[in-house]
Amino acid sequence: MTRLEVFTNRIELIGGVESFVLVRRSGEVVTHNLRNPGELAAMVTICGIGANAVMQSIGFSHFRHLTINRVDRRSFLVFFLDRYFLGVQQVAGADDGRLARDVYDFLQDLLSQNRKEA
């Protein structure tokens, strides 16, 4: 099983994840489980770059995640993962605070594993 397959399997197991898209900072899609990831991938990239720009202009030290709240209570979340951005669509009615924590912890685990292996 490739790293990408492991990533896909694990992210799909997190409670509250309906769909996801992982993109490079250039906007190129790496992996996803959406029918048509193109527009969401572009949005995730713009959000990721924007969140990074806000961090630099204000001087914050560390970005955790971005949440787009919607009327139908299906939030969309964006995370940093090294040179990538991850967009996650929340299942309607799921606890978005818990989802954000679970995805963030999963990504931090991945990053620390990568550092150990490097």
Binding site: G27, L40, A42, G50, S57, I58, I68, N69, R70, F76
Partner: protein, 220 residues
């Protein structure tokens, strides 16, 4: 608007707030001095861009929250022109904040266009798209070729969102310059600000300079 940001600041966990209008910048502000000036303007501009990108995919978007180690930034549309930026402690009670925001915005004096509610895609303002004049500028006339070249070079550097970034920069440039070849360096600066990433800005500058130098050589 001053009353709105003062009401926000009274909520436990709120550091301060400001209002932003895309054409005019920061309007009212009660944030600590750390957040003031050009940095706050840049921040609001980036937030507006995130909001616009979100709206294209989710017409029912209500607000954007950015969670950093030190703070949470909440960006919400008040009416068709104005946005509220609220900066809070990371441990703030989000339910309390959300309800307070709703109440404060509802209590704003009614204006002709006070419609913070999400718009349907058909009604959506084409803010992130070039106006017909910008389209014309890009497609015909003496500026078309250098502008198209710059857009292509930007695509090489930042990929698929180059069009959105370039359209925004072009709209700002048209508003501030005489759209002459001599003012292209001003456009270059605006695009680099819009990119918001030093390394990519440097790469884009170098590509544009190389291209311009090659063109000058072939013209000579």
């Amino acid at each position: 608007m001053q009353q709105l940001i003062d009401d926000m600041k009274a909520i436990p966990g709120v550091i301060g707030a400001c209002t932003y209008r895309s054409q005019e910048g920061i309007i009212d502000n009660n944030l600590p001095t750390l957040f003031r000036g050009e940095r706050l303007h840049d921040t609001a501009r980036h937030l507006a861009k995130i909001h616009a990108a979100g709206r294209l995919n989710f017409p029912d978007l209500t607000e954007v929250l950015l969670n950093y180690e030190e703070s949470v930034v909440v960006f919400r549309q008040i009416n068709s022109d104005d946005f509220l930026v609220t900066i809070c402690d990371p441990g703030i009670n989000m339910n309390l904040l959300g309800m307070s925001l709703n109440l404060a915005i509802e209590n704003l004096p009614a204006t002709a266009d006070s419609t913070p509610a999400p718009v349907s895609p058909a009604e959506e303002k084409p803010a992130a798209r070039p106006s017909p004049d910008l389209d014309k500028l890009l497609k015909s006339g003496p500026m078309a070729q250098p502008l198209q070249t710059m857009q292509k070079l930007l695509t090489k550097v930042i990929g698929p969102m180059a069009k959105i970034v370039f359209d925004d920069a072009l709209a700002r440039w048209v508003g501030t310059s005489e759209n002459r070849k001599g003012s292209l360096s001003k456009l270059l600066e605006i695009v680099c600000q819009e990119i918001g990433d030093e390394e990519k800005s440097r790469e884009f500058r170098e590509l544009v300079r190389e291209k311009m130098a090659a063109r000058r050589k072939s013209d000579a």
